[in-house]
Subunit: 104 residues, 4 copies
């Protein structure tokens, strides 16, 4: 089952700066063969359900191994049976509806 994902991992019990942990997760996702799209509130990626969940688990393990005692993660998951929709199609679909002067 193909799934589109947003992963937002929040390390707890450490300092306010969490960039190094987010960067570590991005490396995990790349190592697992995904093409993560990093944005300011998470990382979007997509793939087979089991592969995706194994990668999220490896993100948790990696961040714990870096010394973070507690992790809160918010995940969004999307599946469809009517058709396959990639992450980039979701954005393209909205952008195609931008009409008129608002595009300037």
């Amino acid at each position: 089952m193909h799934v589109t994902v947003e992963l937002c991992l929040v390390p707890m019990g450490v300092g306010v700066s969490v960039s190094e942990y987010v960067a570590a997760c991005e490396r995990v996702l790349r190592d697992e063969g995904f093409e993560p799209d990093l944005h300011a509130y998470g990382t979007n990626f997509e793939g087979d359900w089991d592969d995706v969940m194994a990668a999220v688990r490896r993100c948790h393990e990696t961040v714990h191994d870096m010394g973070v005692p507690r992790i809160f993660t918010a995940v969004k998951l999307g599946t469809r049976t009517d058709r396959v929709q990639t992450l980039s199609e979701k954005v393209t679909s909205v952008r195609s509806l931008r009409q008129g002067p608002r595009l300037i």
Copy 2:
């Protein structure tokens, strides 16, 4: 790895009433041996990471099999390495801090 979870599955492309799908997921979780705690914005449960993720997948499969073409799911995940914390301990911990007249 033990994980505490909140699962909030939103069926799309169907009517406004989604209770039957939420109820179906609750049955899936019970069938899988979890003790789901249903609340107004999701279902909390906990267990081993791989078991939990397999159950969430089965929820998606079950709801698609009921005729729902698209599912949006919001999941929260919590893991700790400092100690094991159950879902009920999380609530008890906050309640123990309710002091004074506000309890009346």
Copy 3:
């Protein structure tokens, strides 16, 4: 506009135990006249949109005043125009489907 809410506030840059901050938010919500329903992954409450958002803001202000330098909050919001649905009705609606052959 009536809105049902789930509030999940995650203090960052402090220790792993965050119960005191969650308890402080619960007091804010009670002080503002809401009836918060605390569960293991957030606090559900409902009311008029502007009142709700003012309360969430006061939660952030209160937790910052307690010395937390950074807050990550996940909020779920629900609005309907077909009918008013309270938080308790959402749960009751699912529970009513627990009876019958599916339970056997």
Copy 4:
């Protein structure tokens, strides 16, 4: 109070395609003077707390006016008292860690 936001609005009780509603929200945010950053799982923007919440409310009102009877919205909110951090700084901060030995 400055707040960074991710808005993910899910129309319910309509068809599987929801691009037109997401596009309408993007227009609302631009009309309100924000600079929304659309991605595949939401729209990131930032501003003063009250302005932001008024804009989210106007998104709900607009989508209901388009005929959507029920809306589920997931919002992430970030506030800091140690310093002001913009959305673009959050991404830049992670990207700056991509170089060097960690990439190997």
